[in-house]
Symmetry: C2
Subunit: 392 residues, 2 copies
């Protein structure tokens, strides 16, 4: 049967991270591998009340088929939240998706022919590499510096050929935790202004800033050439599986066609429940609670790493989000270290999974959102021990 499968399936494999997560199902293992928000901060009772209200007040309507674009009041609410951040968009520029992962798939569908150029950060979000990968593009990766991509390499890359998309997670990036400076964003926009490249600003963690100040969206510099992705997974809960794309109407027209063909529309019952949740609760207050908790966890992880990791291990100190990124001595393989760490009952994601074109063998991603302080201390101590042994 193998010969029957499409060529695109040759280039993509089961997610390495999701396979790793299976290894870490052993409850004795302290896992910093997953990318899970902390379920302690899911608004379970509030969602339950919203579900009860929706089903008792408009049960039949909330269980019927619905529009491809998504529930209008929910789209209006998203547009209003953008307005508060100084980004002017209308509800007609918002499409509700199944988490922001589906947004990536729909953008691939709408834009990519085989061989088209896609610029990625290096390293980049693994599931974006996979999702775009199915459209068989030509990836061009630009190394990340501490304030965003390397401009010189970006300039060189732009001179090498056309690129339809530039995929970026500018705030508290997955996997590195890096955030673009305002200057860097502006400079990237300037360099792109000579091309027709569409900038995809994937911003699932943007609301989870616990230090520093919010910067502008790329929309401010690139206008309609910037497409914004958002998600409710980190500020409400991933199990409701809802996110969105914000794009100008010309792009939206194509995205709606792609969405129709993909699954007609997103889960309507959960759209209604989420909208009810937003009407009855103060989301900003809820987000503030998550921020405080994640800041504590991040601080504690950074502090423990400073104490127990050898000095030649570097790591980022993210101002928000859920991840930090460690760089081991160049000769050390994080895949080898992973095996040793599993014996010590601690897990992380070896960094090379996030490199579309290889490399990163001495890097690793650590998640701090889904572990309490005790487990962070114990896990990082175990990991420090494994690193020291690996260095021998």
């Amino acid at each position: 049967m193998t010969r029957l499968f499409a060529d695109r399936m040759n280039s993509v494999h089961r997610s390495f991270v999701r396979e790793i997560l299976k290894v870490t199902e052993d409850p004795e293992i302290i896992s910093f591998a997953g990318g899970l928000p902390n379920p302690r901060y899911f608004p379970v009772q509030e969602v339950a009340r919203a579900a009860e209200k929706v089903l008792s007040q408009c049960g039949e309507a909330s269980l019927q088929y619905s529009t491809t674009e998504g529930y209008l009041p929910l789209r209006e609410m998203i547009a209003k939240r953008y307005a508060k951040k100084g980004i002017k968009v209308s509800a007609s520029e918002i499409l509700i998706t199944n988490g922001s992962q589906q947004a990536i798939d729909l953008l691939g569908k709408a834009f990519l022919n085989k061989g088209d150029g896609v610029i990625l950060e290096r390293p980049s979000y693994l599931a974006a590499i996979q999702s775009f990968g199915l459209f068989e593009p030509r990836f061009r990766s630009i190394p990340l510096q501490k304030d965003g991509v390397d401009l010189q390499i970006l300039e060189k890359t732009l001179s090498e050929g056309e690129n339809k998309l530039f995929y970026s997670v500018p705030n508290f990036q997955n996997p590195t935790g890096i955030t673009y400076s305002q200057d860097k964003l502006r400079a990237v926009a300037e360099k792109l202004s000579e091309s027709s490249t569409v900038f995809i600003e994937d911003n699932p963690y943007g609301d989870l800033r616990f230090m520093g100040e919010d910067g502008p969206s790329m929309r401010a510099y690139m206008g309609e050439s910037a497409v914004l992705l958002g998600s409710f997974s980190k500020i409400v809960a991933p199990g409701i599986r809802l996110g969105w794309i914000c794009a100008c109407e010309e792009i939206m027209e194509k995205l709606v066609i792609a969405k129709q063909a993909s699954d007609l529309h997103s889960n309507y019952l959960c759209q209604r429940i989420l909208d009810q949740y937003f009407m009855d609760n103060d989301i900003e207050q809820h987000i503030a609670k998550i921020r405080r908790a994640y800041k504590d966890q991040r601080d504690y992880m950074v502090q423990t790493m400073e104490e127990v990791f050898p000095e030649d291990v570097g790591f980022t100190r993210p101002e928000g989000g859920m991840f930090l990124w460690a760089t081991l001595p160049e000769s050390m393989s994080s895949i080898h270290l992973f095996d040793r760490a599993i014996k010590e009952k601690v897990a992380f994601v070896p960094g090379q999974a996030f490199y579309a074109d290889g490399g990163g063998s001495n890097t690793m991603r650590l998640n701090f959102s889904n572990s309490d302080k005790e487990r962070i201390f114990e896990g990082i101590t175990r990991l420090g021990k494994a690193i020291k042994e690996e260095a021998k």
Copy 2:
């Protein structure tokens, strides 16, 4: 910006049917155009109780990320329902999707290179034409007879080139209401046995048989070369947006990769709610209620059509499902008739939307599941008047 879009977007347009549905939003219009199940039979209270139970008993877990394959107890329940129908599959052969529409997209992703052959029924399910269409296949359409596709034309078509997929809705087809006979299914399987074509049995209406007896699944004749699609939209409710693919493990491996890249996993909260609903309720009893209601509505539509339509209008008498199909005199255009019908405040879907390769200009699809008897009588009477005027 137009030149930036992928080639595949040229071949697919906004769904004609979904555009028609906008015309029919006028509450005075009696619409037989949509493909909606009757919301009167949505188990609203039972879903509300299931939601309350899931969120109070395992709220955090049901709101977290989950596995790509879907919630295991739900997949096991689907496998058990297949077993009752004599189809032996394991839960590992079931993937939960966002309605069966997403199943079509994932199969396209897994199998289709540009130009690959896809066999369709003529006419065929519009959203399948659209969904496969995005992978730019070569469609080959086989005319439907009253018991399934025309075998002679199938044989000729098979001799003309390879086909990776044969997409079929063998029970109470959308749009025609036609069901394959057992002999026809067996004969199709025999003809396909010399090729490596995978048969996709899309069966969203299979449980809604209200006359005659269930036939076998194509799985009985083609084994692992038959992929089965199912949906909860018609037996529970579309708003929970869940369906499934049943495929052998070799195909499943690819589908899981495609699903990961598409949206990580289907809505987990609704998977848990649906599983709870199935544990606490007798679905077969619920389905029996829907069947009785739809039979009444179908009978009443057929009877009224026999009374008020001119004799030269033919139509199917489906044994289940939600649609019937009318054929006007050859010289009459159902698109012209549509305009006249809208003036009479009644709507249907002109049949040519369901032809991948043109044709069907004198046909139309009528939905009987979403109208009560009074509206069926009034609507069909208005439509009969429009047809008579159009014939003048």
